[in-house]
Amino acid sequence: MKWSNLYKIAIKSIMKNKMRSLLTSLGIIIGVSSVIVMVAIGEGSQRRIKESFSSMGTNMLMISPNWRKVQSVSKGASGGRNSLTYDDIEELKISCPSLSGVSAIIKSSGQLIGGTGNWSTSVEGVDPDYFLIRNWDLSSGRIFTKREVESKKKVCIIGKTVADELFQGIDPFGQKLRIRNTPFKIIGVLDSKGQNSWGQDQDDIVLAPSKTVLYRLKGRRDVDRIYVSATSDETMSIAEEEIDTALRKTHKLAPGEDPDFRIRNQSEMVEMASETSKTLTMLLGSIAGVSLLVGGIGIMNIMLVSVTERTREIGIRLSLGARSKDVLMQFLTEAIVLSLTGGAIGIILSFLIAHGLTKFTELVPYINPWVVFSAFTFSGAVGIFFGFYPAKKAANLNPIDALRYE
């Protein structure tokens, strides 16, 4: 029989039973759309992690104390708690030609009072290089100078969220801001960076000169972290070696000894952060995959019922000269058309759901064309696999018995 005839017959019989066809496809529709949406959610969060890391700054390296080592040794100039100091920063600046910027990071937080009200947020002490390292521009004002850092000037740069919360409608530039009761002068407002991979608002921050925060707000000598940037992508690994050498020198470590600091680059951080979300994607995807399988069993179930229900129809077709293969192909085509239509509707549905999620929730699902393609192909395979048994059953009926079937 001609393919066009086969297709025509299958479509006709599907259209004759719209409700049954819809119910049959429903399993596939739900299966396909949930596979796509689940994977899209997982993949979206993975992508956002990567994006937020690249938004952290190009060629950035992060140096942090190696806590295990620091605590077990518990000695040195830092007095025990932390292993990174301004001496390290000076050494890095002098002996690492592959670095284009070095900045201390002093983490703090506190209550802000200023403008129209008060607001609680994190306050970070940084050096002028920080803005270059993190590739972060100001929307207005200026960054602080080296001299302001050295002289522990009480100036600060505020993030977009802080500006919006405290200074609605007023230009924050030059305004006073009290951070934990210490008065600061606002000299700039940061560009908006949006949320990071953990959904944190990166604009909810106040940046001040590192030494100002260290001595005036925290009252300690050690720094929490050091951010540096390599001169280019290619010099990243050289920079890592240079840092290692420099810090081993200042920390007086013997060659081969475990360092009391850790250098992490972006790809390691991306790897770490996306590990969990990868697992999550796989888990969500496989749960949804099971639902697609259940949808396939639904097709088989309804096809089986329909073979029994349509025994007479099959008998009529056979008596008019349909070969077994024609009947087999008819039922198989019906199953495939149903499952592919279900697949297509599922894909449309998943796009709508993804759109809705992006619009109304924090999630940013990313629909990978490959996943769409595989889900569609898989739904076709489900149709063939689960449609075959009922189709075979129909094809093997004896014409005269089928005609007599009541």
Partner: protein, 250 residues
């Protein structure tokens, strides 16, 4: 004349549990091209069984059956299907139209299964066939929107659409009133004069009189086989009925 059917000692058994029902117990039958045969017999005598075998819907257990010079006894399932499609038009006892399917689509159906694509434009051919049985104004009606007689004519149109050499009809007039029955017989007689061989099963003696030859079955055997002497011509009968009615009115 070409011999279209040649049966010798055909036997057919049905097995229901341990019981063997001997539906046909040695049938010898030859039918030539252009014949018009009515098969008669009491209920359960094996008429439908014989028709199903002639129509290649069922196998035989014993004996030989040669249809149009082909011994069909040992043919495969596919070859059976093709014979049904190419050589035979079957009008069933209960019409057997596809429900929720228009008359046109029903008539078109056998053409969709034609592997040789003998007919190039199935839809046009199906319309012609419906036209032949006088149903061109009902092509888009589904079976449940048609009267019994109209359904019967759709079934006949479907049987004729493949231009079969042999038309089989199992009790085609059973559910019809006497006038519609006569119209169907008129159609059969016309088709027969055009060269189609017709075999029909009937209970009614006067319907059998429209055929050229009658065969009587009893307990799965042919007990009578004769040429109809006083053959009725359906068009004439219909004419006289109409005349009679007019006469009475006057």
């Amino acid at each position: 004349m070409n011999r279209i059917i040649e049966m010798s000692q055909v036997k057919k058994n049905y097995y229901v549990g341990d019981v063997v029902v001997k539906a046909l117990q040695g049938v010898d039958l030859t039918i030539d091209e252009g014949e018009f045969v009515a098969i008669m017999g009491s209920s359960g005598s094996g008429k439908s069984t014989l028709m199903n075998i002639i129509g290649c819907l069922d196998n035989i257990n014993e004996g030989e059956y040669v249809l149009d010079s082909v011994n069909v006894k040992n043919l495969s399932r596919n070859e059976y299907a093709d014979i049904r499609n190419q050589k035979i038009g079957f009008v069933f006892q209960g019409f057997n139209l596809l429900p929720r399917t228009t008359a046109l689509e029903n008539v078109e159906l056998p053409l969709l299964y034609d592997r040789n694509n003998r007919i190039k434009h199935p839809e046009i051919k199906a319309k012609e066939s419906l036209d032949k049985v006088g149903l061109s104004d009902r092509i888009d009606h589904e079976p449940n929107q048609l009267s019994g007689g109209q359904q019967q004519r759709v079934a006949i149109a479907r049987a004729l659409v493949t231009e079969p050499a042999l038309l089989l009809a199992d009790e085609p007039t059973r559910t019809l009133d006497s006038r519609t029955s006569k119209e169907v017989m008129a159609l059969f007689q016309e088709l027969n004069t055009q060269g189609i061989t017709i075999i029909l099963v009937t209970h009614e003696r006067d319907i059998a009189k429209y055929a050229k030859r009658n065969i009587v079955l009893r307990d799965g055997k042919i007990i009578e086989d004769f040429i109809v002497e006083d053959r009725l011509i359906a068009t004439e009968v219909l004419q006289s009925v109409t005349d009679g009615a007019i006469h009475e009115m006057v």
